[in-house]
Point group: C2
Chain length 217, copies 2
């Protein structure tokens, strides 16, 4: 199975048995996550900004307004860290000490570049929409020339990345199993509620299946 | 209403009308979020690590293993950024360009310190459990002396912080309202599924209400 090579910053040091460098696991987590948190350095201090992403092959793509300091920083080839985290459940142990969460996370380090070819940009912007809600980019009006100019797109090669995953029940100390307290896992997921139609819809337009049947995981 | 003073890094520059420095909004977002993403700088590069947090008054508290590089960094008084993001919905516009998300996020910049008083530490660890699942710290066995020693707790004063919030329907270009495509908001939330009891439970132990009726927002 294809694996990434851990670098000094992506090597899993804490609880290494939870770590993975497998491409397939890493790609799956990146693809399921709706948002990522991007870390940059400004004047020596860290800044973490949430944004949406899409994985296109072995690249991670971000977008935003040309004025965005985040995108200017990435377009400048500076070192960046992109982290995504999926919460799968609360792990309730008999002791507070062994409480935990089931989760899947990816930490990706790298440096990006500007995507300036208009056709590639348009394709990447569609991929961002498809990442969030598959089927949508075929229905909505695609970006026109003015909108393409008003959007900055950057790509970061996925080369140094690691995943960390916890699954399964709580693990208590032997002597705590006799405590009369409920223990187990409370699974969590992102769920969609009833779609709220915009007030100005054209008469007769129905909610598409990709909206009414939306599921993330 | 109490407000934080925006600093150079927390001042909302992009779409400032979405920004807020109100304590109440910021605290509410911090309190609802199950996890945060913490940014640090190592060898000039950013690293973003997901972890759980709790707000205790005007402090944000994090915890982990004493070997954690994240906690060592924070305990050393280095500049840190903590970001939390709540996703409230997908905003589907007629054009891909105007697609968006409804969200509430907080970016907090500061520097922390080690919490070394054992009593304060124990209280903060209970607060971390209560933050995730209210009611739990009264039932589970609290940390003993050995466990307290095996846990590092740090606190960061909440002084420089800003919130960014988007709510409401899509906003399309005037000429796009005639396009026959569904538009609106697909609300998202974190929901709990049926609790999975651990296999070694003491006979007769029931699922507590704070588990079976768990809701986040």
């Amino acid at each position: 199975m294809a694996e990434f090579k851990p670098g000094p910053q992506t090597k899993i040091k804490r609880i290494p048995e939870r770590g993975s460098y497998e491409k397939e696991s890493i790609y799956q987590i990146l693809d399921e996550a709706l948002i990522c948190h991007v870390g940059i350095v400004q004047d020596g201090a860290p800044i973490v900004i949430p944004t949406i992403h899409a994985r296109i092959g072995d690249q991670l793509v971000l977008h935003g307004a040309p004025a965005s300091r985040l995108l200017k920083y990435i377009a400048g080839g500076n070192p960046v860290c992109v982290t995504v985290t999926l919460l799968d459940g609360l792990v309730l142990a008999r002791s507070t000490f062994h409480h935990s969460m089931n989760y899947r996370s990816v930490v990706l380090m790298g440096s990006g570049k500007l995507v300036d070819d208009p056709q590639e940009k348009a394709r990447f912007l569609d991929a961002l929409v498809e990442h969030i809600i598959p089927g949508r980019s075929k229905e909505a009006r695609g970006a026109n020339e003015k909108e393409l100019k008003a959007t900055t797109v950057v790509s970061i090669p996925i080369e140094e990345a690691s995943a960390k995953v916890r699954t399964g029940p709580p693990v208590d100390d032997e002597e705590d199993y006799s405590i009369s307290v409920w223990a187990g896992v409370l699974p969590l997921k992102i769920s969609a509620e009833a779609p709220v139609p915009d007030s100005g819809l054209v008469d007769g337009v129905q909610v598409p299946d990709y909206v009414s049947e939306y599921q993330r995981s």
